[in-house]
Subunit: 373 residues, 4 copies
């Protein structure tokens, strides 16, 4: 089998699917190659927080990219839902980043100031004010940074929507298709070899998350991305316990439809192991009860893991391979893959088309300096 495309995307997670969506909209003939099922790994495991101001704390290029990406959701979601027939569950009810002690309170107040300077909304709420808005939150907390614009989605459904919307516009999606080699010639990529044949393309984009390092070693590139396992669980409360997401050091609680609450996430560095451990759940439960005591009475549902890709400097790699023309990389989004997917898709499409106006801070030229970190 030998097929020819404008662009082949390796990896059917949320970022690969978002890139496919942008490229197919711009008229490219696109194939997505996924070794398992669409959104079967980290993308489907994520809690779906859009925490531009919660997860990212300092102004800078990544903060700007995150805020921009967050801003794309209100128009993107209805477009995707229409094309894909998938309900994405986008909600924009704000996020509470709580303080458990005075150090955290000071830190959050400092953060509010810095984010306001960067033009974003955020405010400090006393614990009384937090409880007035979210009566189930623990009164042992000191207060919270409230971020009105950080929302959430159903991560798996958003990933699926990107893939299905792409397919509706003409992209081809190949599940259970593993890439074994890149077809390289004269420092230029010409396609990939899979277990079932060749896919030729002008451009190949690698968006394989925590598995990117291994794949790219075939090109001689040692990408500093490590796998970080995160364990999560969900429970269902009789009545919705909170409207907004509650975010703290080491634990967040995300309210989903029907009273469901997703609680995440542990951080286990350098692990591809997808097992949920007793300790992982147990430690998250203790933290969750400290945030929302009534969660103790919620009904247990299930637990799962995701393997997230952490880069050496905490920034994703979004750019062309340093030694191989036509080969692009979009990986290393760590805990922000869902949030960053819309902007990643757009940025990667711009990069392919040479349309990035200013210098791209996420390009791989910084690799050299990273080696010395």
């Amino acid at each position: 089998m030998r097929k020819v495309y404008d662009a082949v995307i390796v990896g059917g997670g949320i970022n690969g699917s978002s890139i496919a969506f942008q490229l197919v909209k711009r008229g490219y003939k696109v194939a997505v190659l996924e070794k398992g099922k669409i959104a079967g790994k980290a993308s489907g495991a994520a809690a779906g927080i859009l925490g531009a101001q919660t997860e990212l704390t300092e102004d800078g290029p990544l903060f700007q990219l995150a805020c921009k990406s967050r801003g794309m959701f209100p128009t993107l979601v209805p477009e995707l839902e229409e094309l894909s027939h998938v309900h994405i569950g986008y909600e924009n009810k704000g996020m509470y980043k709580v303080a458990a002690d005075e150090d955290q309170e000071l830190e959050l107040k400092r953060l509010i100031e810095s984010q306001r300077k960067a033009g974003e909304q955020a405010e400090w709420l006393s614990i009384n004010e937090v409880i007035r808005r979210e009566p189930s939150v623990s009164d042992k907390l000191l207060g919270a940074m409230y971020i009105p614009n950080d929302g959430q989605v159903q991560a798996y459904d958003l990933s699926l929507a990107f893939a299905k919307a792409s397919r509706a516009l003409g992209a081809e999606i190949y599940e259970y298709t593993s890439v074994s080699e890149f077809i390289l010639k004269d420092e230029k990529v010409h396609g990939v070899i899979t277990d079932l044949g060749e896919f030729l393309a002008e451009s190949v984009i690698v968006a394989t998350g925590a598995w990117s390092r291994m794949l790219l070693e075939k090109t001689g590139l040692s990408l500093p991305i490590i796998p970080v396992k995160g364990e999560c669980f969900s429970v269902v409360a009789e009545k919705p316990l909170v409207k907004g997401t509650i975010f703290s050091h080491g634990c967040y609680i995300v309210p989903k439809q029907s009273g469901r609450l997703v609680v995440g996430a542990t951080v286990k560095v350098n692990s591809f192991d997808e097992k949920v451990t007793l300790e992982g759940i147990s430690s998250l439960m203790e933290k969750a009860k400290n945030l929302i005591p009534d969660i103790a009475n919620a009904e247990w549902e299930r637990a799962w893991t995701g393997i997230r890709p952490q880069s050496a400097d905490g920034q994703p790699f979004l750019g062309e391979h340093p030694a191989c023309r036509g080969l692009y990389i979009a990986a290393g989004h760590f805990r922000n893959g869902i949030l960053l997917a819309p902007a990643t898709g757009e940025l990667m499409a711009d990069i392919l088309e040479g349309k990035t106006e200013t210098s791209n801070p996420f390009e791989l030229s910084r690799l050299e300096s990273l080696v010395h970190m």
Copy 2:
């Protein structure tokens, strides 16, 4: 334990939950008593067809009730979604009732005429026209009656939404709570006894579907409702195979989100047995392939059953107990429980309040004549 309410509803399926919703909106203090989980039986198993003109073929009170109920969805769904935080998946993309032979074609054409006289929209489409609109439909069919107004919902989610919206407005929902006896005195109900105590109420409404007969025998009433098992399954197609529901003799195919297709349903009379049989699935598959040949390539998902309540004359019982004031019955909706739920809730609330203007054709006074059927 002894609790006092205005109205106690026995049965947390879709009709019990819809009645609770109407009553709580009218200011009643309401409890719903469910022996298992909300929507755990037929309501959660239904394919969610709103087939007012598909399932019901002759004009008459039930047809009128069905059309009225169908018309309530567009305003009801957003109200429920807002209150319950449940996504109901309401879609209104029409229904195709197909003809496989000339007898069926004649019958459908006759039906179109009769429904048009009753003021409803319906039209005959040649098989070419059907395929133009729904290219995956088999060209071995002769054509279809097209009903633009028959839509569908996620049946489980709608049931849950009724229950959660009721709770949000103050209703109390008791799961895992079985009613063992009615508290009766002087031909008037005063409440029920459950495994965990008494629930006193001015009005008690029995909405326990196929299980209604057994429960009401405690009051000396022999309600002619039998259980009819229906088996269903779902598959997921890569691309959505149809937009509208395809309905035929013995098989319907309902398109859900993400390419999912629900295929139903077998008809096994007098069975409470919830087992899915090999033969049940196998026979549905053959029928489904005759309607949409490409469904053969769809991915298998799962199979399940629902136990539907069929009444002796095919009409639901919606009214007061013939010998016991304050005790109401809403049961026997057979395959139309989802469709009829909105109107059932409203009608039952009107009956409790003595507001039904004209004579109610679904009342239990017809029981006497049914005995002689």
Copy 3:
């Protein structure tokens, strides 16, 4: 439908199935009526401990019955496995009832002495000796009472084996069949009415666990049995962490095949609610880590509940109805239903045949005195 039997057993849990097995072996024509699926409630949820000396601490009739029942397993298990083609997973690797403080140590040493006097084996092991045998046990414990003869089974599989062995010998098993009424005449039972017809029989045995009280109220009997919810979970360790069962105040850990460990059980009085709560799991996890610290690294599997029947005096009711000849009761086994099933089956068959030599300490004549407790 009208069917005639020698004996009808209401309830297809482990005790109903064991009674069926004994009766069919003695030549009775037997039917088992189960409202859901065989072993679908507490019998299928149990961890399968055969803790004659662990759960029951004082000598007396129940202790004697438990030891006798435990002694029946070695011959019963191969017989059932042969007839039913079900693997029961019977293991006899002993039980460690551990002491966490000096009070518990004293209590256990006293217990050892008392059980030895009753003719049973038990010995005190220092914590060093416990760890020598079971290296994963926490060294913060003080020691353990070791009971070599307390073993375990797969509770669901044993229940299924009783039912399938009975069927193989000619018993009829009706699943999804609810009993609505007893057929009573002249203070004698003549059968039962179900949702699908009458089952006539000389003898009717009620073995419906926590649901027995409600059912027997139809006969005017108020049986003092309450439902007690128990939550459990299972994990899988890479290597088997223990060979014997570890039993403590409020938590036991039972090693199953393939490294699986079942951890139980919470105690929630007066609840038919089958939901697993976050707090239930969380509290068990803390206790389990105190017994076997390495369980923290085991892989999470799943959680579930069982509703156990607790009687007012802690003894099961095994005997004839005080006011209705031919109606027998076998209920109230609380946490010992699996252990007691073999002896219960035999004793109930003896009672039906009038073969009990001495007075039966579990008969219902004690009900009168219980009312005054």
Copy 4:
């Protein structure tokens, strides 16, 4: 991370685990590297038939290996069960290879003769005799070749038992560990590179089933093995429908414990896709009903797939890499991976130790001639 072993086995399926078991018993320091979970692919999906005389029809080296391997089960199973605490469900109740028409009858009779000449037991049974032994078999069949010595196991449990027994004897099992490269020097293997570090070893054995071709391409070897998808399903009958396995052209029915029947398997060439299709199930159901009509009433359980490795000449590759000392291959068992696992483990251990007395008919030297096929 850098670890040193005597032998590293790539692939934790049944053959990799069996090889590990033999090597660890011979004193080797062994590691098994599995990219997912132990027995997570074809080994866990197999129906567990030990069809030495059913699957393999002609005498020859593979037939001899299969018969030898089958003969190892009676002593191997108790050894593995003792070491692993896994119940393997080994049963030896014979196999019926049925004839549906006269051509098939002639073919089977010819086969019986040829196998008897090879020293194996087999006999022709008229359909009356088949039905006398297995009353549920269809009387529309003409008869069957009866093979008393072909039995079955629980395939997943046997695979797990090999792995856990190996671990109990000191082998190290690494799940979620992918091999990216072989460490090669001077035409000799020195270990492998995984996503989490290096595993050095004197010998590396590749036992990765259908995924072997891709992995070995890194060594310049193009192994002619293709993936063949097989779909299966299981149902549960009230009473066991058959005691022996029923085997026909295109469908087999394997009786498991508790009345469960496993029905397999479709044959879809060149597919790594693990999706079960509607057509796959539907076609198997039709075939199964022709073999055992009463299976129509059995309760549906679930469906799944396995990806089996088919080699160009139908024989597995068991031997050393033609161009790389120390690198061994054990792959291409197609539908006989479970049956051949015991002998594969022993043969590969012998090959590593240079103990194979005679010439090995499965070695890779035949590759050259295969290219010309």
